[in-house]
């Protein structure tokens, strides 16, 4: 874990994934896609049928978020992460399909960690509830699929210095275990 914030850009290469260690603070710049459970369900159904996804997942990062509506003149409303464990059933399939990064909040399950180890992917968290602050780093937002899902539609975002923390890395290091062990008292 380093004190400095690492600057990284999307899409992610294997080298970027390898450079990230649980506990690192990062600023992400580039395109990221949004999806919550409802959108993930549809994406995995497409994968099951062998059909093309609305975006090419190779090297991409998905942010688990359902933003608030944008006020006039703003690209997006408040946009903090949603709880990631709800994506446990879908994330391994997306990682197999080439996804390299996920951003959410809360711990991800062992099935996801296995897929992260096997295919080199990383799980980062944004601060749950810091949605107005996070929204400042989102410069563009465009719905690219599933508009009928409202807040849960898939959006392509362009972010600059999006603040996140590496929570679970591809080696299996886990801040939810490491951090808690450091600070717990009997």
């Amino acid at each position: 874990m380093t004190e400095e914030t690492k600057r990284i850009t999307t899409p992610f290469s294997d080298e970027i994934v390898e450079s990230l260690i649980a506990g690192d603070r990062v600023f992400i710049t580039g395109e990221v896609y949004t999806a919550r459970d409802a959108a993930h369900k549809r994406l995995v159904e497409l994968l099951d049928k062998g059909e093309k996804l609305p975006f090419d997942p190779h090297g991409q990062v998905i942010y688990f978020v359902g933003p608030a509506p944008a006020k006039p003149g703003k690209p997006i409303g408040s946009a903090g992460p949603t709880t990631s464990y709800r994506m446990n059933p879908y994330a391994p399939r997306m990682i197999e399909a080439g996804l390299k990064g996920m951003i959410g909040k809360g711990e991800m399950g062992s099935e996801v960690v296995e897929a992260m180890k096997k295919h080199k992917a990383v799980y980062m968290v944004a601060i749950g509830g810091a949605a107005a602050l996070i929204a400042r780093s989102i410069k563009k937002s465009e719905i690219i699929a599933y508009e009928d899902l409202g807040a849960e539609a898939i959006r392509k975002l362009y972010v600059e210095d999006f603040p996140a923390i590496v929570a679970q890395d591809y080696r299996g290091e886990n801040m939810y275990i490491k951090g808690v062990q450091t600070y717990k008292r009997e």
């Binding site: 509506p69 408040s78 711990e107 968290v125 400042r136 807040a151 951090g179 062990q181």
Partner: protein
């Protein structure tokens, strides 16, 4: 009898929905600052700083502090000398929620059926808790409740023999199992006694109590203090990534109960602990 127009109630609810989502209570901010000052984890400290900064941005720009602008929970204390004219109370509240969430650029997070899951599109209906009280006024509290922390809540029908130790163990375990999911730091609402549904209601209502206030009964005041220390000793910390700040407060609300029962409910609220009230 005092007449109150339904549309006055509706306008008030509309305003409270927005205010609650934009402006974090000064008690929550004070607690966040207090814990930030002593947080030992550098990462945890940084997270708390960003949470405070977020509340300041939401306040000054009048935008939602969290994108999950919640289930609109309304606590209404209706004076028994009030006569509502020009429409029903429930309709007035839901109309206020509808307009508040639309006009305030707040997210619509309600599905009309838990299994078929079609969004109602306007964040209605709210959950309305009504109490009749003496007097000729109406007090309305709007408490938008996020899903992440609500999902980490639980009711347990314990045995009377489980006693104080059983209660404490259950509360601590519930918090431990929730980890980073409820967006810690959290506020822990505990309902003890009553019936199955009453204790859940008490737990939710306990979240409305001012942070920093002391329980009027020293027995419970002591228990709240002890639970807070033990919960923070879990080391879960801000966002679950390790640290000394898992909870900002523990609030217990108790009620008489049946000789055979010992119901306990834990309702967690995230740091986006939103509630605003008005008296009409």
């Amino acid at each position: 009898m005092r007449n109150i127009e339904a549309n006055v109630i509706s306008d008030t609810v509309r305003r409270l929905c927005m205010e609650a989502n934009y402006h974090l209570g000064d008690d929550v901010l004070e607690a966040l600052n207090k814990f930030e000052a002593v947080e030992e984890s550098p990462l945890g400290k940084n997270i708390l700083k960003q949470i405070i900064q977020n509340a300041e941005i939401a306040h000054s720009e009048e935008v939602a502090m969290c994108q999950d602008t919640g289930f609109a929970v309304a606590f209404v204390e209706l004076g028994q000398e009030v006569h509502i004219t020009g429409g029903g109370l429930n309709d007035a509240i839901n109309d206020g929620i509808h307009r508040g969430y639309a006009d305030g650029y707040l997210r619509k997070s309600i599905v009309e059926d838990p299994l078929r899951r079609k969004n109602t599109g306007d964040n209605t209906p709210g959950v309305i808790h009504l109490e009749m009280v003496p007097g000729d006024k109406i007090k309305v509290i709007i408490a938008p409740k996020g899903g992440g922390s609500e999902n980490m809540s639980e009711v347990k029908m314990m045995k009377p023999a489980d006693g104080v130790e059983g209660l404490k163990a259950f509360v601590i375990d519930r918090v431990r199992r929730s980890g980073g999911n409820p967006c810690p730091p959290v506020i822990v609402g505990v309902g003890v006694g009553g019936t199955f549904e009453k204790c859940a209601y008490l737990a939710k209502k306990a979240l409305l109590r001012r942070i920093g206030s002391t329980h009027p009964d020293p027995f419970y005041a002591e228990m709240e203090k002890e639970l807070l220390v033990k919960i923070n000793n879990l080391g879960i910390g801000p966002q679950g990534l390790g640290g000394r700040t898992m909870a900002l407060a523990v609030h217990i609300a108790e009620h008489p109960c049946h000789i055979a029962s010992f119901p306990v409910a834990v309702n967690l609220n995230c740091h986006a602990a939103r509630h605003k009230e008005a008296v009409i």
